[in-house]
């Protein structure tokens, strides 16, 4: 064996002053300071900061409608928190998740309704349902625990469809008619009668579940979940029982969804199979993705933003303002220097006036109509876009073929615009595209807020993902360096 030689004197390897000072540099920016303060805060304070806005919400609200939105939002927050366990922490693409929500709701209907003939108190029903649904999650996870990625997604999606088929066809669930005479929540013999009471029950559930999830995440189980999400094989070889950990994750997420269902059913007073379909699944996923998978505060904010926007956009006036406002803001944010967005917007206005004038001369029937929207901005835009006079039929629905034509034209134009390489021509091309978008909105979408809101939310998500793929509060993950 040769004698090891002493390495020559030289700068120390492995001590990187750039990395060492990274924290210091970061904490100098205002965002960094907020982040630091948040990181240093004790968990109880974080919880308070998270729950306080919810707690004071009812003080500023005096309409039943808004309280109802508040309760729904909290139920969505619970759902998003549960999904975050499987998707954000364990890293499993679980597409059967809303089935657990449905099972929770139907279980409540089974233990507390006229139809079932049982009237359990909620202090027994909710914990039992949570456990039962968690066990269901465990059982669903059993056959799929060895599956990863796409395969797990397919199997869980199959489970969701299976559940929906059973719901619609089985007699004990009364098929598509659902179960409609569900008891209100009743704690120790006292019935909850007001929406406020439901709101606070949901809020208490939220505080308990967030605390539960925080504590689990900051323990060896949470650490192992994150480890197996990063590298399953390495985790297994570092003493972590990967399959069992996945099952625990499935069960915990399902249990949370079960609680959400057990609150949702009495709030609605009825459960229907249609309430637990793919649209709900996609909405909850959107919440988790928007807020940032893996972050408790993120998915909470994500649920509030998405459900809040969906509600706000039911109103055509709000939707119009949002539509035109977002377009203007995105242009201002994306195009630099400042005169470029101004030029594009100005050119669009002029372009619209010219087209409007020409159309009025050539075919007067194409202009002068009135759109379904009633916001101030709609009145202005109506006299600027191409809008046939007979846009609104007697029953209030849009009839114009122009709107549908413009819609197809818009899709083609946007695709065409992405093919243009030259920046100058892109800006020029943007002008007719924006005008087309306004035409589509005034002719078609403003009258169909129920559809338009999903398109707007989709656009919001696409835009956000382009800038922050990790979501609002998510941590950017590095795959390979």
């Amino acid at each position: 064996m040769s004698e090891p030689q002493q390495p020559p004197k030289q700068p120390r390897i492995g001590v990187d002053s750039w990395v060492a000072s990274a924290d210091e540099r970061r904490s100098r920016s205002p965002a960094g300071r907020v982040q630091d303060a948040y990181d240093r805060a004790p968990p109880a304070l974080k919880l308070l900061a998270l729950a306080l806005p919810f707690a004071v919400f009812p003080l500023f609200v005096d309409s039943d409608y808004l309280m109802q939105v508040g309760v729904d939002t909290l139920v969505f927050v619970l759902l998003a928190l549960g999904l975050n366990v499987a998707v954000g922490w364990v890293g499993l693409l679980d597409l059967g998740y809303v089935a657990f929500f449905g099972i929770g709701a139907y279980l409540y209907a089974t233990v507390a309704s006229e139809y079932a003939g049982r009237h359990w108190d909620a202090q027994f029903a909710i914990p039992l349902i949570a456990v039962a649904v968690a066990v269901t999650g465990f059982l669903v996870g059993l056959p799929s625990r060895r599956l990863v990625g796409d395969y797990l997604a397919i199997v869980t999606l199959f489970f969701l469809q299976l559940w929906l088929v059973v719901l619609v066809n089985a007699s004990f669930t009364r098929g598509p008619n659902g179960i409609s005479d569900i008891d209100p929540l009743e704690f120790f013999g006292r019935r909850l009668t007001s929406l406020d009471a439901y709101y606070y029950v949901a809020l208490i559930a939220f505080v308990l579940i967030v605390s539960f999830l925080y504590l689990v995440n900051h323990s060896r189980t949470g650490r192992a979940w994150r480890a197996l999400r990063e590298d399953e094989l390495a985790a297994e070889l570092m003493t972590m029982p990967v399959n069992r950990l996945k099952l625990i994750g499935f069960a915990v997420g399902a249990g949370v969804a079960g609680i959400a269902g057990a609150i949702f059913a009495p709030v609605q007073g009825a459960v229907f199979p249609a309430s637990f379909d793919l649209v709900l699944l996609i909405t909850v996923y959107a919440m988790v993705v928007l807020g940032g998978a893996g972050s408790l505060i993120g998915v909470t904010v994500g649920a509030v933003v998405i459900n809040g926007s969906l509600e706000a956009l039911r109103d055509a006036d709000n939707a119009s303002w949002l539509f035109y406002g977002v377009i203007a803001l995105v242009l201002l944010a994306l195009l630099r220097p400042w005169w470029q967005p101004v030029a594009v917007l100005g050119a669009t206005v002029v372009f619209g006036l010219v087209v409007h004038e020409v159309a009025e001369q050539v075919r007067p029937s194409l202009v002068g109509g009135q759109s379904f929207g009633e916001a101030r901005i709609d009145e202005i835009v109506d006299s600027w876009v191409l809008l046939p006079q007979n846009i609104v039929t007697a029953d209030g629905l849009p009839s114009g073929a122009l709107g549908r034509l413009a819609y197809m034209g818009l899709v083609a134009a946007v695709l065409g615009l992405t093919l243009v390489r030259s920046r100058v021509w892109r800006l020029v091309g943007l002008v007719p595209v924006l005008y087309l978008a306004a035409c589509v909105w005034a002719n078609l979408l403003v009258a169909q807020a129920a559809v338009a809101r999903f398109i707007l939310i989709g656009a919001l998500l696409v835009g956000l993902m382009a800038f922050r793929p990790q979501g609002l509060f998510g941590k950017q993950r590095v795959e390979i360096v």
């Binding site: 003493t239 029982p241 360096v481």
Partner: protein
């Protein structure tokens, strides 16, 4: 130093594994004694990493037996084998990149802690004590590498580490699983000469201070010469030579395996 001096910790008997028609391991026998450092060498594709994968339970062998501390570990789940006391590093680094340096090490202590979900949520005294213990364990394991993985590094994500530090972190993580046998898969790969030299000393220190028995795959012959009690050479899944470094390095079959037939004949 021969095998007979020590009680065997790991015994691999007649191990065979084929992927389709490719025989990766072919009737391989290997014994590692308590406290020994054994190097496995061989050209690329000789079956070295496959041997590690079979020992750690990633692949089930087709034939053969693996005894660890005298009892069979065949058919056990990999995490159970790891818990018995076999930990490894990876040739292609497999850190938990988006976790902090300290978390990487703490995560590997999973098998030696007990707190379940319920106890974690209730933060029972036992659970708190366990957390404190593995945190201290992680700090201690990271301090093994001098000041390279301590202090501000604890809170850095693993992806921010340099290549050599990632290799060190992998070793720290493996030791946190509290093994008796440490399998190191090319610990000096991709390191510069100074770092390689350091790694040689480090492996010796792992045995002196940590008390680990070490089975190491290495291509760098300076490292192999510097650390090994015994060297085993593989080619096409067959053991072609075994003995001290000098014996194996001059073995004609080893030279042939590395350099081809004509080179061996010229010698």
């Amino acid at each position: 130093m021969s095998t007979n001096d020590r009680a065997p910790l790991l015994e691999v008997q007649n191990l065979s594994l084929a992927f389709g028609g490719l025989r990766c391991l072919d009737g391989l026998d290997l014994t590692v004694g308590e406290g020994e450092i054994v190097s496995v060498i061989g050209p690329n594709g000789a079956g070295k990493t496959t041997l590690f994968n079979v020992i750690t339970g990633v692949y089930p062998p087709e034939e053969g037996e693996i005894l660890f501390e005298g009892s069979s570990i065949l058919g056990l789940d990999p995490h159970r084998i790891a818990r018995r006391g076999i930990a490894r590093t990876f040739q292609t680094l497999r850190l938990f990149l988006n976790m902090t340096v300290k978390e990487n090490v703490m995560a590997a202590a999973y098998g030696h802690t007990k707190a379940g979900v319920l106890r974690s949520v209730l933060r029972t005294p036992g659970m708190r004590r366990e957390e404190r213990e593995i945190e201290r364990l992680a700090e201690e394991r990271l301090a093994f590498f001098g000041d390279r993985l301590v202090g501000y590094r604890w809170r850095q994500p693993a992806y921010s580490l340099s290549y050599a530090n990632r290799r060190r972190l992998e070793i720290a993580r493996a030791t946190a699983a509290q093994p008796r046998l440490l399998l190191l898969d090319e610990p000096a790969a991709g390191m510069n000469p100074v770092e390689t030299h350091e790694m040689t000393e480090l492996i010796a220190r792992l045995r002196e201070e940590g008390g680990y028995t070490i089975l190491v795959i290495e291509h760098d012959m300076h490292v192999v010469e510097g650390i090994s009690d015994r060297v085993v050479a593989l080619d096409h899944g067959v053991k072609i030579a075994e003995g001290t470094f000098e014996q194996v390095a001059t073995d004609p079959r080893v030279v042939e395996a590395y350099l081809g037939t004509s080179a061996a004949e010229q010698k």
